[in-house]
Symmetry: C2
Subunit: 441 residues, 2 copies
């Protein structure tokens, strides 16, 4: 039982929680390609009952193994308990469209390669499930593949963190959170943990110094304890560890000096989620609903996965529709304004866009992300377009390019979790589309 | 582990799956009243984390114990995996309203009592969470209590069955199902079970003769095996029974002669759900979405609870918003038409309204439901208003009174599961409101 239990943790955690900067694009060679692994063609969950080998399962972790993963990311609710982020009952905001099918022909040279490929070809390289490009506030490109439909929802993975960070800086600008205060000021339960003397700002920029290993080869790595704690299934009888996110977070020890190095660790987002819950007296699902989702003209409810006591997974548990992700991206690009309403204070967006410490970021050693920084749980490229983004494993992204007045949102199910596998086909693709749009009418 | 597991089954099954006709109104005396048990006032799931004694849990069954039950029925998704019934992305159909607050003062004498009470007082007697009265297609009364909000969803319990039955008769009228054929014609896997030689019609009217005990005092009763099979949690290591609904249903044995007696047994609805899935090649969630939910102008997605392989619980797993339940009830009253669209063939509604065998129904011995019958998984009163209804444990109802051109929909969280506890305060209340509306302009 224990073995099965932790096995399920292994698979679940590996892919949901973690940004791996060691991912090797070569690894992809051993996987079916996008067309071969199309989840509809593969017939996952078709039949009453479906064939045994076409039923992804949560308890043994098979739901998150490629290629079943490609079906599961569009159906996360069927595997686990969740909490709604209500859009309310109002009308959705309609999109203006100005489809530019020529985008498919835009060419670029993938990082580390020499031969140009087209945007259209790149979609298959990163196993895209859905992608929208917005330009001047209009949809200029929109496609769905495999198991994702326009009215479906998809796992946002670590794009969730940027929502948590956005809510955090919103509450700071509203005066509910003082980012210079220590975490323990808001969450006394964390006083004796690594977070006790970290500032909220350090948590928001992930410059906390944590003893938190994500080495999957090490059975004692903290990541196992974190994911076991957050798993909503009943714990095995002999399990004596933390049983919820809130029980786990106080156990994290300090390792080093806060504020010096960027360290991308999911638990920071969950600590910020806890602070948001504490200062508002509401769950982060309710806060997201009230402050953004109900005001934005979204067309579908969003949802979070939850732990055994219903705490939303602020570090990676959010799911929503692609068009609603586009609405959110456009809101950020528009400095927090949608229509005539200032939903997010402009000062909060300014805070995100000014970026974090490049020096601290450089210490993390992302070879493909030279010169980037991290602020309010957003990735800041510091390129000459002022682009910044939200990123999640398996290829989820919100990419905002202010100079090109462009937003790209994408759901994907790349067999490789780490964005190192997506970036060579994504970062230059975004630039090429931005240039194409800047040069088109 | 096993004990805990089956304990959770016990609580979960007792209240979700079963209509108890033995419920005793006196039993209610030992419970907190509606005001005392208000789930918002009790503070369930408030705090980060909430207090230990304010966290309803799925694995130990506490989520479905009164008074936590009152919070849980409005948050079922937080406890278990579910599948969406998409409304699509279109605009919702707006309601005309003509609020008649005088309904609160309508008086009636509860069954078995001598003193009249008002409609308003009756709401507390049955622990109402939300209620809408429609008259001439307009909302004339709408109230929410406790944990249910206008944009929330609530468990429909066995009201689910009437959706399953409605889809069944729709598919029959479309020629996809022949109700005179045996179940085994559609589901060969059921050939050696009680259902093998039962007709689809007998399943739809629950006149199958099944060895299916719902005696909770008997640890060998079939209800335990059914609920253990359908529980989405991983099975205990030593569990060797059926692991899904589709594995369980073929094990049901025959006991008697089909077609003679009405026997309200949830498994009939799950067999009909299986037939619907088989003939359409889709899950019942998809069929409900395509045939009704997307066409009706609903304002929220609905959802089903599912078993370990994602099969929706066709006998009791549906959840949706109160206004959407009103839309559905109005659709049935309008002979399947919403606006200008004939969503359900009128012949299907005619089939429901003509009712089932009164003789077969009488054998079941419901003392409060003299002269009623059961058809297409709807309860037919055969009263002089031609009223018929969908009913679920703990007080869920869609009550349709054609003569009064009235629909009443209600979500509730009565501590007593069986409708025997609700009927004395409900059936005469519906009649009194119908008379009031008939006499008002």
């Amino acid at each position: 039982m224990k073995q099965v239990y932790f096995y399920s943790q292994l698979l679940f955690s590996c892919v949901i929680f973690i940004w791996s900067n060691k991912a090797d694009a070569q690894e992809k060679m051993k996987y079916l390609d996008a067309a071969q692994s199309d989840p509809v063609k593969m017939g996952w969950m078709v039949g009453s009952p479906p064939p045994q080998d076409r039923i992804p399962r949560f308890d043994d972790g098979s739901f998150f193994q490629f290629p079943a993963l490609r079906w599961s990311v569009a159906h996360m609710r069927q595997f686990m308990p969740t909490v709604n982020v209500s859009r309310g009952l109002g009308a959705s905001a309609s999109f203006a469209t100005n489809i530019k099918s020529n985008i498919d022909k835009v060419q670029f040279v993938p990082l580390g390669e020499t031969k140009a490929i087209t945007w259209e070809e790149s979609l298959q390289k990163v196993y895209v499930d859905g992608v929208i490009v917005m330009h001047h506030g209009k949809i200029v490109y929109e496609k769905y593949f495999g198991a994702l439909k326009v009215d479906g929802q998809h796992a946002a993975m670590s794009v969730t963190k940027s929502f948590t960070g956005t809510l955090g800086i919103m509450l700071a600008k509203e005066g509910l959170i003082d980012t210079t205060k220590t975490v323990s000021h808001y969450i006394p339960e964390l006083e004796n943990s690594a977070f006790g003397d970290a500032t909220v700002r350090q948590v928001m920029d992930m410059t906390t110094a944590l003893q938190f290993s994500e080495d999957y080869a090490d059975p004692n790595a903290e990541i196992w304890k974190f994911s076991a704690a957050g798993n909503p299934l009943p714990k095995p009888k002999d399990y004596d560890g933390p049983k919820t996110y809130y029980e786990y977070l106080p156990t994290i020890k300090k390792n080093g000096v806060h504020g010096e190095s960027f360290g991308y660790k999911t638990v920071n987002s969950d600590v910020l989620g806890w602070i948001i819950a504490r200062v508002t007296g509401k769950t982060i699902a309710e806060v997201l609903s009230e402050k953004i989702w109900r005001k934005l003209g979204t067309e579908q409810d969003a949802y979070y996965s939850v732990d055994a006591i219903g705490t939303p997974f602020a570090g990676g548990g959010l799911n929503f529709g692609l068009r609603d992700m586009a609405r959110f991206g456009q809101l950020i690009l528009n400095n927090g304004k949608a229509g005539k309403e200032q939903i997010i204070p402009k000062s909060a967006i300014d805070d995100i866009r000014k970026g974090g410490s490049k020096k601290a970021f450089a210490k993390a050693g992302y070879t493909l992300l030279q010169g980037w920084s991290y602020r309010d749980m957003w990735w800041i490229t510091n390129n000459d377009h002022g682009a910044f983004c939200a990123r999640g494993v398996h290829g989820q992204v919100i990419y905002i390019d202010p100079k090109a007045d462009m937003v790209i949102v994408r759901f994907a199910s790349n067999p490789i979790a780490g964005n190192g596998a997506n970036d060579p086909y994504s970062l230059p693709a975004y630039d090429a589309v931005a240039k194409f749009l800047l040069s088109s009418k």
